[in-house]
Structures are given as C-alpha cells and as structure tokens.
C-alpha cells in the first residue's frame, strides 16, 4: 500500500481517527480498572486504620473532614472515628500531612479517646532513602524514637534537639520535625490545644 500523502484533508482525518480510537480504548480500560483501583485504595486505608488502632475487631465510621488554619494556611484532616464491636469508642484515626524533606509526608495516626497515640503508619513520603525514609519504623514501639503511648497534649512532642522528648532519626532532623508536626497538628485539630 502506498503511503498517504500529506494533504490537509488526509491529515485532519487521520489525526481525528487516531484520537477518537485512542480515547475510546482508554475509556473502556478505565471503566474496567476504576472499581478495582477504588477497592484497593479503600482496602489499604481500612488495613491502615486497623493497624494504627492496635488491631483487633474495629468498626470504622464514615470519614469526617476537619479544617484547621495552621501557619496561615488551611489544612484538611480526614478523621475516622473508630469503635469496637459493641460500639464503645476506641478513638480516632486521622490522616495528616506535613512538608517533609523531599515533599509531602502523609501519616495516618491513631489516637485513643484521651489523645494518646496508639499507632501510626506512613502512607506516602518522598524522604531520603536510608535516612528520612526510616520514619516508618523509627517511631514505632520497638523503634529508637518510640512515640507510641505518648500524648501530644501532655508530652513535649518535639525532637530532643528542640527540647522535646522524642529522639529524632539520626541525620534526619527535618523529616523527624515534619513527622511530629503532622501528628501534633492532627491532635490539635481533633482534641484541641490542651495545656502543657
């Protein structure tokens, strides 16, 4: 077959056809994969909430969005009230984020009704591999900078370099500060500024 010549009509027809076909295929693939992607995201969030609330059988209430003005900027927090099987409140899981060393550091943190930290998980980060990226393990119960069981309203919730009670990740003070700030902000928004 001979190659089509580059006349205006040919070009318009070919480009339109290609765009229409490509658009049609994309729309179809999207309609197939969208429910699956949504399910994975929901599952991940549910598993995350369960793990930061200390595991066990929990019931998660629908998401509530809270807004707070921090440092002159409006910040959004997704709050998930959690209760056990009989309906007694176990506390709240809160999704919070702060600007870390390499970009947004998004943390899901679980509080009991008094605001004591039950657990946390890092949802998304772009911290330095080998340094700031350790945040996912460092602040856990068996990590070096354990924050589980602390209460941002009562404890001095900053790194020891700033006079606080938490050991920062070695050589990653900026990441550590951002991490603690994210949790502190979540606490202040959901539980109010209590006296220290």
């Amino acid at each position: 077959m001979k190659k089509l010549s580059s006349s205006l009509l040919n070009m318009v027809i070919v480009l339109t056809l290609i765009a229409v076909i490509a658009g049609g295929i994309l729309a179809y693939v999207n309609s197939v994969t969208a429910p699956q992607i949504e399910k994975i995201n929901a599952d991940n969030l549910a598993a995350g909430i369960k793990s930061v609330m200390g595991g066990g059988d929990v019931q998660v209430a629908p998401e509530e969005t809270m807004t707070a003005t921090i440092g002159g900027k409006d910040k959004l927090f997704a709050v998930y009230p959690v209760s056990d099987a009989s309906g007694t409140s176990l506390g709240k899981a809160i999704k919070t984020s702060e600007n870390g060393f390499g970009g947004d550091l998004e943390v899901l943190v679980g509080f009991d009704p008094e605001g004591t930290i039950l657990g946390y998980t890092v949802l998304q980060h772009a911290e330095t591999p080998g340094l700031g990226a350790k945040a996912g393990l460092w602040f856990q119960k068996d990590g070096k900078g354990n924050i589980i069981g602390m209460n941002p309203g009562k404890n001095n919730f900053t790194v020891s370099k700033d006079g606080g009670e938490v050991d920062a990740i070695t050589a990653s003070t900026i990441t550590s500060r951002a991490f603690l700030k994210a949790i502190q902000n979540a606490y202040d928004t959901a539980y109010g500024n209590s006296s220290k």
């Binding site: 001979k2 089509l4 010549s5 040919n10 070919v14 290609i18 490509a22 994309l26 992607i37 340094l131």
Partner: protein, 202 residues
C-alpha cells in the same frame, strides 16, 4: 536481517542505555535498587513492543507531516493503559514506580525506535526490535540498580513491597548512602559505560 540479529542488535550493538545513551531520565531516576530497575525495564519493554507493533501497522496510513503527533498519541494511550492496569492489579510495583510510569511517554527510546525502526519495517521485525531493545534496557537498568544497591545498602534484590529480604553481601550498615542517591547513579553509570566500551573494542 534475521530475527536473531535484530534481537542481538537491541541487546548488544545498539543497547539503548550503554551505547545509544537514550532514556537517561528513567535510567538514573528509578535504579535505586535492582528490583526497581527490573520493573521499570519490563514496563518499558511492554510499551515498546506494543508501540512498535501498532506503529509498523499504521505507518502507511499516517501522512508524514502528522507522523510525530500520531505516534505520541499511540504511545501515550499505551502508557495510560499500562498505568491503569498496574494500579489495579499490581499495586506494589505501582507504589514504587508510579511517578515514573507517565514518563515512559516521553522516554526517547520509544519514540526513537518508532522513528528509526518501526516506521521502516514490517510488524514482525518491529516486535523483535521491541523485544531486543526492551531486554537491552532491562538488563542495563537491573545491572545499574544492582551495583547501586550493593554499594549503597549492602544488600541485593531487596524489596519491601514484595516482602523479599534480599541477599546480604555486607553488614546491614555497610552501605555508602551516596550510591542510592542521584550522584551515585551518575558515577555507577559512568563506570558501567566505560567497561562496556572497553569490552566492545576488545
């Protein structure tokens, strides 16, 4: 040209990373570990084979003057399909490589092979070219990732997303962090290209 020769051409003689120096952005960006390099290589191979096939099939229907925009639409559609499929069925890999998948669209290897090979050859030859160049790219990325991982963390083929512990080659803390970061990519790539050049001349 026989099919085997086309394959070998992509892996050795025209290796996209070590010889043609194409697609440097994903090469340097994704190879912080061997597994990441391997996954990026395979994702690129998938797009490359399909884009080569489709472009060699439609090459006579596309007028010369709108060639590039048409190819870009084809490639971008394939990448978007790949991205949606990975997100839905391979969320582990997607979490690691998510940022780099859309970049495959502008990866010059793909448009380069479309222009240099698929637009001049038949569909079967184009598939073989896609496989060959894809394997060449995958080998290069895995090698680069493996070197950086060993030097940077002391462990090989570790992946948290797949729960693979990896092969410890030095002590846990025996790594030089710089090799996992961007400067290490340039240094390791430079040495690998030097070694490949030396071997090609010999």
């Amino acid at each position: 040209m026989s099919y085997f020769k086309i394959l070998k051409n992509g892996i050795v003689k025209e290796n996209p990373t070590f010889v043609l120096l194409l697609g440097m952005c994903p090469t340097l960006g994704t190879t912080s570990s061997a597994i990441n390099g391997l996954s990026m290589g395979l994702a690129t191979t998938f797009v490359l084979i399909l884009s080569n096939l489709i472009i060699s099939l439609i090459k006579n229907l596309v007028p010369d003057k709108v060639r590039i925009p048409s190819y870009i639409v084809v490639i971008a559609s394939l990448v978007t399909i790949l991205q949606m499929l990975m997100q839905a069925y391979l969320p582990g890999i997607y979490a690691t490589l998510g940022l780099f998948i859309p970049l495959i669209v502008v990866n010059c290897i793909i448009l380069g092979r479309a222009e240099a090979f698929a637009a001049k050859n038949g569909p079967v030859e184009s598939i073989f070219d896609g496989v060959g160049i894809g394997i060449g790219f995958t080998i290069a990325l895995t090698l680069l990732g493996a070197c950086r991982e060993i030097l940077g963390t002391g462990v090989l083929f570790k992946s948290d997303d797949f729960g693979i512990a990896g092969i410890p080659l030095q002590g846990e803390s025996g790594g030089m962090l710089m090799f996992v970061l961007a400067p290490g990519a340039f240094i390791v790539l430079g040495y690998l290209i030097a070694i490949v050049n030396k071997m090609r001349k010999a």
